[in-house]
């Protein structure tokens, strides 16, 4: 027997450990997307990319960890203000508003949504104006200020109507608010309009929520059978869909409809299904009210299971904290709890909740409630005495039993202790590693930030220089190149023409060199992949205009390894020189260029069928050759030249890691 128990405890321990691991794993998956956005942020080059990333971070964290979401939102806002970008500031405000909403700080959320609204109006972005109006309405609704919420929703609706746009959720929101304000005929009208519009425009998924509103209206108007039919139809269609929220709401409405028909059996099934979904959504508020309604429904049954009902009430109590911001809802819950406890025969608990309820409802208790309280107080006293007697009885019993059960208790105690120690050790080690990881991340982040500040400075300088080169030198050289080319075309004076031709060639070359320089200064171009693309493009455009056959073999899978500007420049210039030698001086008819990368060697070969370097007419010059050789030496590469009277092959090999 004892052995059996020990084994059972072991199994229990394993199950607990396994569950802990599962929890850890699911946590990791949720983090992955955010991490990737964060990495994107660290690598973002332009400010708008940064702001986009910051906004995504702020928006996504807004739901899971709103405090971090707020930090990112503030960063994004600061950057947007610095860059005077209304568009990004609007995004930032939206992110902040959402984060504060998750924190249930609806006043702050509304403040930011209002800022959003102002910017959206300044930008004349009708769609954003409308969605922001809806966001503001939501904050009012969450605080129980239904009239204000309704005003904003109606404004959003007018906005959509005037621009002939439509949002399938708007009629649902308005319907909900009218129901909350007990204006059933308006709610019904909006639900029906919404259903018609959604059918017209093909928003079939949105129809269910409108059906839900309509069904609630029908229930309130005592047309219960049609309400039940409508909801059952919607639930049938929702089966297998991922939108759990709407399914749970439909279940709730269906349960209420059954209750109105006095069919507590069916209602209970609906509410229990709803509870499972609410827990899946981890919607504390929903869980709380569903527990309460289950308890209420149970008590309406002929032979109520009081124990289970009590359990449901206790569970509802646990979720209460989420309701603190909405006084109206809280008051209702307190009242429901009190009456439930009362009917279950727990006057002391009931008294407590009545006190809370009246405290909220009105600080001045009216006579009626005082009487109610007094009565409860007396009942509470009697129950207290009774329970004290009960307690003593059980104590006595326990003492007699305790001797018998000592052995069992010992095993139990040891196992529990063991379990606690293992769990504690396990979670401590996890805590330590996570703490260390966090610290490392933070250090890394700080370093990165510092690094980025430096890089940014350098980048700005680089951008300034290339802009200067571009504006001053480039424009002037372009003009010279163009004018001389034109003059050359128009001129018949032989000598002058030759000189103009020289000027034209020189200025064109100069300009092309400056283009190369500006290209190299662009920080986006610092990978091997981009260099190869540029070489490919250059070779293509250069050879296309000449009267010869050529074939280019550039692989598509060159990796995006970062390379220094020095390597980039030396490879490109050497390549240019080699191609130009082959095309212009060697009198070739066919040119073949092949590039390849086998880590760590990058190889390029330029082969032609020309007359070779030994030919007397060619004087390219030792100068050119020496230049290529030197360029390769500087970056640790090799320069090979095979030349004969039937062709030349230049092979460049550069180690790149």
């Amino acid at each position: 027997m004892k052995q059996f128990k020990t084994i059972a405890y072991c199994i229990y321990t394993f199950i607990v450990l396994f569950l802990l691991l599962c929890l850890q794993a699911s946590y990791a998956v949720n983090k992955r997307y955010l991490d990737s956005v964060y990495v994107a942020y660290l690598h973002a080059v332009s400010d708008s990319e940064k702001m986009q990333c910051l906004y995504s971070l702020s928006y996504e964290y807004g739901f899971s960890n709103p405090k971090i979401g707020i930090q990112y939102g503030q960063q994004c806002l600061a950057l947007a203000k610095l860059k005077k970008s209304k568009f990004h500031a609007l995004n930032a405000y939206n992110g902040l508003g959402n984060a504060y909403e998750t924190l249930s700080d609806y006043d702050s959320a509304r403040y930011y949504h209002m800022q959003s609204l102002q910017l959206a109006r300044a930008l004349h972005d009708e769609r954003k104006i409308a969605t922001t109006l809806i966001n503001i309405a939501i904050t009012y609704k969450e605080q129980g200020l239904y009239e204000q919420a309704l005003a904003y929703q109606l404004e959003a609706l007018r906005n959509f109507e005037s621009k002939e746009q439509y949002n399938p959720r708007i009629h649902f929101f308005i319907g909900q608010l009218y129901i909350a304000l007990n204006n059933i005929s308006e709610a019904e009208r909006h639900s029906r309009t919404g259903i018609r519009k959604c059918k017209e425009l093909g928003y079939y998924d949105a129809i269910h929520s409108l059906n839900l509103n309509l069904a609630i209206c029908l229930t309130k108007q005592n047309k219960i059978d049609s309400a039940i039919l409508l909801l059952q139809h919607s639930l049938q269609e929702l089966k297998g869909k991922t939108d759990v929220r709407i399914t749970s709401q439909c279940l709730h409405a269906l349960g209420e409809a059954w209750l109105a028909k006095k069919n507590s059996e069916e209602a209970l099934v609906c509410f229990q299904n709803e509870l499972a979904l609410q827990e899946q959504l981890s919607n504390k508020e929903g869980v709380c009210s569903t527990h309460l309604i289950i308890a209420t429904t149970m008590l309406q049954q002929p032979n109520p299971d009081k124990q289970t009902a009590l359990q449901h009430i206790a569970l509802a109590q646990k979720s209460l904290s989420q309701l603190l911001h909405n006084k109206d809802a809280l008051r209702d819950v307190y009242f429901k709890m009190a009456s439930l406890y009362e009917s279950l025969g727990h006057p002391n608990e009931a008294l407590n909740f009545y006190k809370l309820y009246f405290g909220l409802k009105d600080s001045l208790l009216n006579l009626n409630s005082v009487a109610q309280l007094n009565e409860l107080q007396t009942r509470y006293e009697t129950v207290k005495k009774q329970s004290q007697i009960e307690l003593q009885k059980t104590k006595l019993e326990a003492q007699t039993n305790s001797i018998k059960h000592k052995n069992v208790q010992l095993i139990l105690l040891i196992s529990v202790l063991l379990l606690t120690i293992i769990t504690a050790l396990f979670s401590y080690s996890r805590y330590r590693t996570r703490q260390q990881f966090k610290f490392m991340l933070e250090v890394e982040r700080q370093e990165k930030l510092r690094e980025f500040a430096l890089i940014e400075k350098e980048q700005q300088e680089r951008e300034r220089i290339s802009k200067d080169i571009h504006d001053e030198l480039g424009a002037g050289l372009s003009k010279i190149a163009l004018l001389t080319a034109y003059a050359q075309q128009k001129n018949d004076n032989q000598i002058l023409s030759e000189q103009i031709s020289t000027i034209s060639t020189i200025s064109t070359e100069l300009r092309s060199n400056i283009t190369d320089l500006v290209w190299a200064l662009n920080p986006n171009n610092n990978t091997l992949e981009n260099l190869v693309a540029r070489m490919h493009e250059y070779a293509g455009s250069f050879l296309e205009d000449l009267n010869l056959t050529y074939s280019l073999h550039f692989p598509d899978d060159i990796p995006a390894i970062a390379i220094t500007r020095e390597i980039q420049r030396n490879i490109f210039l050497t390549f240019k020189e080699a191609v130009s030698n082959a095309a212009k001086h060697a009198k070739a008819t066919t040119i073949t260029i092949t590039a390849s990368y086998n880590s760590p060697q990058f190889m390029i070969s330029i082969t032609d069928d020309g007359i070779g370097f030994e030919h007397k007419k060619i004087k390219i010059s030792n100068n050119g050759l020496r230049n290529m050789q030197e360029r390769m030496n500087i970056i640790g590469g090799e320069f090979e030249l095979h030349t004969s009277s039937s062709g030349t092959k230049v092979l460049l090999t550069i180690p790149i890691q």
Binding site: E49, Q52, Y59, F87, L90, N91, N94, N98, R127, K128, T131, T132, I134, N135, I138, N167, R169, H470, D471, G474, A475, L477, S478, K479, A481, L482, L483, A485, Y486, Q489, S507, T508, R511, I514, T515, V518, W519, N522, N524, N525, E529, N530, V532, A533, R534, M535, H536, E537, Y538, G540, S541, E544, L552, F554, D556, I558
Partner: protein
């Protein structure tokens, strides 16, 4: 045969006059009018409705990019060619997003300018590897942020990939077994989608609860 009518917006006198002369000499082209700045062009061009406008990017007050952006909706049949002194990717890319149909370097050989105009009339537009890369990026960024979005077809993505790796139109045509014309048409469609998306811009993803 119908002539291609051409207008010029260029602030440097020498270049403007030379471009005028080139256009006048070309058999297939007909010179309409030239402008020193964008402001004058903005008033006159909607009346003229030329087939092609050569626009300098760097103009004194309003830039060539703004000019194209403002004219695009009122001159729907006009093609805009941006003239640049250096191939500065960022600037060219913004011009393309604003609605430019092509670009040419001011120092390209003289016959290239006329060729570019002719080519553009028949639907072609150049795209360098750097521009292609920017286009790819822009579509990726928009795709995540925007639901009302013109996305690229498989073919278009394929062509962009080759362009960003430095392939020429001819090479791509051979590689994908398409005609040169088809490749050009695809590139033109990519440009159009880019412009449509830049205009509607990334909508805010507002979650409705």
């Amino acid at each position: 045969m119908k002539y291609t009518t051409v207008a010029i917006v260029e602030d440097q006198k020498e270049i403007r006059e030379m471009q005028e002369a080139l256009v006048k000499e070309a058999d297939s082209l007909c010179f309409l009018q030239s402008f020193e700045n964008a402001e004058e062009a903005l008033v006159a061009l909607p009346e003229l409705q030329p087939d092609v406008v050569l626009v300098d990017i760097h103009l004194p007050k309003m830039t060539g990019i703004e000019l194209v952006f403002n004219l695009k909706s009122v001159c729907s049949n006009t093609k805009f060619i941006m003239c640049t002194s250096l191939e500065d990717t960022e600037t060219i890319f913004s011009a393309l997003k604003a609605g430019a149909n092509g670009y040419i370097s001011k120092t390209a050989p003289l016959n290239k300018l006329i060729e570019a105009i002719d080519e553009l009339r028949h639907g072609g537009a150049p795209m360098s590897s750097q521009i292609a890369r920017k286009v790819v990026e822009s579509f990726q960024v928009n795709q995540t942020a925007n639901t009302h979005f013109e996305s690229l077809s498989k073919r278009e993505q394929e062509i962009l990939k080759f362009l960003s790796k430095g392939y020429r139109y001819k090479e791509i045509a051979a590689k994908l077994e398409l005609s040169l014309e088809t490749v050009r048409t695809h590139v033109r469609n990519i440009y159009e989608k880019l412009q449509v998306n830049s205009r509607t811009d990334a909508l805010n993803k507002v979650q409705l609860r």
